[in-house]
C-alpha cells in the first residue's frame, strides 16, 4: 500500500494536458465510440463476390498450415537443441544427393500445394468473372461511364433511350443507381490524377486513369445502399472521395430511370460543351 502511494504521484503526468488527455481519449473514447465493430468486409453483394471469399479462405488455410510448420520447425530446435555442456551440434553440410533431392522435392511439392492450386482457381475466376466484361451491345448490360476528378465521382448513364451523349443522359455525382441482377459495365477515365473505383461490398476495384479508358464490371445481387470509395491516392481529400451506390429492384429502377431521364432532358443545355463528356462505346 505504501509503495502504491509512493508511485501514484509520479503517475500524475498522465493527467497533464499534453499527454494524459489525448492518451485517455485514445484508449477509451475511440474504442467505445466504435460501437458496431467489424472484423471482416461483410457479406458480398455481387454475384462474383463469393469467389473472393472462397479463394481467400482457401489460401488462409494453406498458408496457416505452412506457417504453423515453419513455427514448429523453429520451435523444436529452440526447445531441444539449446547449447549445454557436453552437447554438440551434428555436422552436416547438406551436400549429399539425398539432401539435394529432399530440398527439391519439398520446394516443388510446396509450390504445387501452395501456389499452383491457387493459381488454377484464380485463372478460372479471372476468365469466368472478374475479367469477363459483359457485351456492351447486350440490352441486359447496364452501361455506366465514370469520370473521376479531385475529389468526386461523376457517373453518366444512357437514360431511357439507351444511348450516350443524348439529352436524357442521367448524370449523377457521388451517387450511382443501378438495377439489381443485371451486369453493370463501366467505362472509366479521369480528369486529373489516377483514382480507383472501389466498391467494397461488391468486391470490385479498378484504377481510373487519365488519358485512357479502363473497363470493369459487376452484377449486384442484393438491393440496398452500398459504398463507393477511392482506392488510389489522389491528393489530400482522397479519404473523402466516397459516394453511395444504390441497387434497386428492376421495377423500382425503371421508375427511377424514367423520372431521372425526364429531369435530365429538361435541364439539358446543348451549348454547355463542358458537360458533354460522354464518349463512344466501342467493341
Amino acid at each position: 500500500m505504501s509503495m502504491l502511494k509512493a508511485i501514484l504521484p509520479s503517475l500524475a503526468f498522465l493527467r497533464s494536458r499534453w499527454l494524459g488527455c489525448p492518451l485517455a481519449l485514445m484508449l477509451t473514447s475511440t474504442w467505445a465510440l466504435a460501437q458496431d465493430k467489424r472484423w471482416g468486409p461483410g457479406e458480398a453483394a455481387s454475384d462474383y463476390g463469393y469467389r473472393f471469399h472462397d479463394l481467400f479462405w482457401l489460401i488462409t488455410i494453406l498458408v496457416s498450415v505452412a506457417f504453423a510448420l515453419v513455427v514448429l520447425l523453429l520451435a523444436i530446435p529452440v526447445l531441444r537443441d539449446r547449447e549445454r555442456p557436453g552437447h554438440r551440434a551434428s555436422f552436416d553440410h547438406g551436400k549429399s544427393l539425398h539432401d539435394k533431392r529432399l530440398t527439391a522435392v519439398i520446394s516443388i511439392v510446396t509450390f504445387i500445394i501452395l501456389d499452383a492450386w491457387v493459381l488454377v482457381i484464380a485463372m478460372q475466376d479471372l476468365r469466368e468473372a472478374y475479367w469477363a466484361i459483359p457485351d456492351a451491345e447486350d440490352p441486359q448490360t447496364y452501361r455506366v461511364e465514370v469520370l473521376a476528378q479531385q475529389w468526386a465521382w461523376n457517373f453518366r448513364a444512357p437514360g431511357v433511350d439507351g444511348e450516350f451523349g443524348t439529352a436524357d443522359d442521367i448524370i449523377t455525382i457521388n451517387e450511382l443507381v443501378v438495377p439489381k441482377d443485371r451486369p453493370v459495365s463501366f467505362n472509366m477515365t479521369s480528369k486529373d490524377v489516377i483514382h480507383a473505383l472501389f466498391l467494397p461490398e461488391m468486391r470490385m476495384k479498378r484504377d481510373v486513369n487519365p488519358g485512357s479508358i479502363n473497363k470493369t464490371w459487376f452484377r449486384p445481387i442484393t438491393a440496398g445502399d452500398f459504398t463507393i470509395l477511392c482506392a488510389e491516392l489522389c491528393g489530400f481529400a482522397h479519404y473523402q472521395m466516397s459516394g453511395k451506390l444504390r441497387v434497386l429492384e428492376q421495377g423500382l429502377f425503371n421508375e427511377w430511370e424514367a423520372e431521372a431521364s425526364k429531369l435530365a432532358s429538361t435541364a439539358f443545355d446543348a451549348d454547355d460543351t463542358e458537360a458533354q463528356w460522354a464518349w463512344d462505346w466501342e467493341e
Partner: protein, 574 residues
C-alpha cells in the same frame, strides 16, 4: 588479386573521420546516418499512427512545434507528406545506408580478406552523395507551395504539376535520384571488390553468405537503380520544363500527350527488385548467423546461393503484380501472376535450408541469433501473405488496402530491419571494440518482435475488412467507421514498438563509449573479419590472409572434442 599499395594512415581529423576513404570509417558513417534517419522515419510513423487512432486530436509533446498553424493537429496535406516521407526515408535513407551502406562496407573487405574497397574514393563519394540526397529530401519539407504528398511511389499525374504544385515534389524526385546515384556507386564498388579482391583461397563457394547477399544486391542496384533514376529525371522534366511524358493529352491544352502508366512500369521495374535489394543482404546475414550460432554448417550452401541467384534473376520479371488493377491486359496479368508465384520456389529452398541449419544444432540464443531467427518468422508471415496479393482474384479486393501495408512491412521493412539489427548486434564488437549489453539487447528484441507482429497482423485484418491505405481519417466514411477499433489497437502496439527502440538507442550509445571492451572474437566464428585485431587496424590485415576452408566448418568431428570451430585461414586437421 591483392592490393599491396598502401597509403599511410591519415592524421588530420577531417581526413580521418569526415572525408575518409577507409571502408571501416565509411561503414560507420553510413551506420550513424542510417540510424538517425530510421529514427526520423520512425517518429513520422508514430505521428501517422497517432492521427489514425485519434483523428483530429493534436499530436502530444511536439505537435504544436511541427504543426503550428493547426495548433498541433496533423492536416490532411501534412498527413500525406508524412507517409510519403516515411516511406522514402525508411527505404532510401534508413535501410539502404544501414543495411547496404554500413553492412556492405564493413563486411565485404573484412570477410573476403581485402585491405579496402577497390575504389576507396568512389566509396567516399557514394556516402557524400547520399548525404546530399538526404539534405535535399529534408529541405523539400520546407519549400514554397508545399512538400511532396504523392506517396513514396509518386505516381503521376498526382506527382506532376497536375496534382502537386509544391516544389517539394520536384526536390523529392531529385533526392531520390541522388540517393540512387549513391547506390549505383556503392554497387559498382561492391561488385568489383568481390570479383577482384578476394584473398587467395577465397573462391566463390567459400564466400560467407553475407557477401553473396550483398554481391547480388549490388547487381540489382546497378541494373535497376538507373531505371528509377530515369523515371525521376523524366518527372523533373515534366514538372519543371513542361514536357508531357506522363501527362496525357486529354488533360492538357494542346500538344501531344504522354501516359501516366509509363511511370508505373518504370517505377516497378525498379520497385520490385528494390524489395530484394533490401532483403538479400538480410537473407545473407541470416544464412550466416544461423550457422554461426547453431554451431552447425549452413545447410545446403550451394542451394542457398543458387536460390539467391534465382531470386535475383526472377525479381526482374515479376514487377507487374503491383499493377493488377491498373488495367494490364489479361495475358500480362496472368503471366505476372504465374511468374510471381514461381519466385516462391527459391524462397522455399532458403526457408528449408534455414530450418535445417537449426535442426540438431547447438543453439546459442544471443541477441543477433534471436534477430536472425525472427527474420524467418517475420519473413515467413510476410512471404506467405504475398500469395493473397499475387493471386489476382484476391488482389482485386485487397489491393491498396492495409493488407498490402502489412504484407510489405513484414517482408521488406521488418525483415530488412531485423536483419540490420542482427548485423549491428553481431558486428558491433568488431566495429567499436566494445560489447553491447546482452540483457538490454534481448529486452529490445522481445519488445520489438511482439508488438511488430501484432501491428502488422492487425493490418491484415483491417485490409481484409476493406480498409483502404493512405486515408487521413477512416471515421469519416460510414463503411469504415466500424473498423476504427482496429486502428486504435494497431496504434497502441505501434507506440510500444516505437518506445522499444529507445532501449536500442540507449544500449547503442552506452555501449559505444562505455561498454565492456570486446575480445578479438567474442562469438567464436571463423570468418576472416574475426581474425583481425580489435579495433581493426588501418588496412585490416598485416599480411593478406590465405583461406584454407569454408566459412561454416562448425562442429566438424575432425576438430576434436575441445573446440567446435576453426578460422578460415586454418587448415582442417587430417
Amino acid at each position: 588479386m591483392t592490393s599491396d599499395h598502401i597509403h599511410p594512415e591519415p592524421t588530420t581529423f577531417l581526413k580521418k573521420h569526415v572525408f575518409s576513404v577507409d571502408h571501416k570509417v565509411i561503414a560507420k558513417q553510413f551506420l550513424w546516418f542510417g540510424l538517425v534517419w530510421l529514427g526520423i522515419g520512425g517518429i513520422m510513423a508514430m505521428m501517422l499512427r497517432w492521427q489514425l487512432a485519434n483523428p483530429g486530436v493534436p499530436v502530444p509533446l511536439f505537435g504544436k512545434l511541427l504543426f503550428p498553424r493547426t495548433s498541433g493537429v496533423i492536416d490532411p496535406a501534412s498527413y500525406n507528406t508524412l507517409f510519403t516521407m516515411h516511406g522514402t526515408i525508411m527505404i532510401f535513407l534508413g535501410l539502404t545506408p544501414a543495411m547496404i551502406g554500413a553492412l556492405g562496407n564493413w563486411s565485404i573487405p573484412l570477410m573476403i580478406g581485402a585491405r579496402d574497397m577497390i575504389f576507396p574514393t568512389l566509396n567516399m563519394l557514394s556516402f557524400w552523395t547520399m548525404v546530399m540526397g538526404g539534405a535535399v529530401g529534408f529541405y523539400s519539407l520546407f519549400v514554397p507551395l508545399g512538400a511532396t504528398e504523392a506517396g513514396w511511389t509518386g505516381y503521376p499525374t498526382l506527382s506532376t504539376t497536375v496534382g502537386a504544385v509544391g516544389q517539394g515534389e520536384t526536390l523529392w524526385a531529385i533526392a531520390v535520384f541522388l540517393i540512387g546515384a549513391s547506390s549505383i556507386m556503392g554497387g559498382i564498388n561492391y561488385i568489383t571488390t568481390v570479383i577482384r579482391l578476394r584473398c587467395p583461397g577465397m573462391h566463390w563457394m567459400r564466400l560467407p553468405l553475407t557477401v553473396w547477399g550483398l554481391f547480388l544486391t549490388s547487381i540489382l542496384n546497378v541494373l535497376f537503380i538507373p531505371v528509377i533514376g530515369s523515371a525521376m529525371i523524366i518527372l523533373v522534366l515534366d514538372r519543371v520544363f513542361g514536357t508531357t511524358f506522363y501527362v496525357p493529352a486529354s488533360i492538357m491544352s494542346g500538344g501531344t500527350g504522354g501516359d501516366p502508366i509509363l511511370y508505373q512500369h518504370l517505377f516497378w521495374i525498379f520497385g520490385h527488385p528494390e524489395v530484394y535489394i533490401l532483403i538479400l543482404p538480410a537473407w545473407g546475414v541470416v544464412c550466416d548467423l544461423l550457422s554461426f550460432f547453431a554451431r552447425k554448417p549452413a545447410f545446403g550452401y550451394r542451394a542457398s546461393v543458387g536460390a539467391m541467384v534465382a531470386v535475383t534473376v526472377l525479381s526482374a520479371v515479376v514487377y507487374g503484380h503491383h499493377m493488377f488493377t491498373t488495367g494490364l491486359s489479361a495475358m500480362l496479368g496472368e503471366s505476372f501472376m504465374l511468374l510471381t508465384m514461381i519466385i516462391s520456389v527459391p524462397a522455399e529452398v532458403l526457408f528449408f535450408n534455414w530450418l535445417h541449419t537449426l535442426w540438431k544444432g547447438n543453439l546459442r540464443l544471443t541477441t543477433p541469433m534471436l534477430f536472425a531467427m525472427s527474420v524467418i518468422f517475420v519473413f515467413g508471415l510476410g512471404g506467405l501473405t504475398g500469395i493473397y496479393l499475387a493471386t489476382i482474384g484476391t488482389d482485386i479486393f485487397l489491393h491498396d488496402t492495409y493488407f498490402v501495408v502489412g504484407h510489405f512491412h513484414l517482408t521488406m521493412a521488418a525483415s530488412a530491419l531485423f536483419g540490420t539489427f542482427a548485423a549491428v548486434y553481431f558486428w558491433f564488437p568488431k566495429m567499436f571494440g566494445r560489447m553491447m549489453s546482452e540483457r538490454l539487447g534481448k529486452l529490445h528484441f522481445w519488445l520489438s518482435f511482439v508488438p511488430l507482429v501484432i501491428v502488422f497482423c492487425i493490418m491484415f485484418i483491417s485490409g481484409y475488412a476493406g480498409m483502404p491505405r493512405r486515408y487521413y481519417d477512416h471515421t469519416s466514411t460510414e463503411y469504415l467507421r466500424p473498423l476504427q477499433h482496429l486502428n486504435v489497437a494497431t496504434s497502441v502496439a505501434a507506440f510500444l514498438l516505437g518506445a522499444a527502440q529507445l532501449i536500442f538507442v540507449y544500449n547503442f550509445i552506452k555501449s559505444r563509449w562505455w561498454g565492456e571492451p570486446a575480445p578479438q572474437n567474442p562469438w567464436e566464428v571463423g570468418t576472416l573479419d574475426w581474425t583481425t585485431e580489435t579495433p581493426v587496424p588501418h588496412y585490416n590485415f598485416k599480411t593478406i590472409p590465405v583461406v584454407q576452408c569454408g566459412p561454416h566448418e562448425f562442429s566438424n568431428p575432425v576438430l576434436g572434442p575441445d573446440t567446435d570451430w576453426i578460422y578460415q585461414t586454418e587448415k582442417l586437421p587430417g
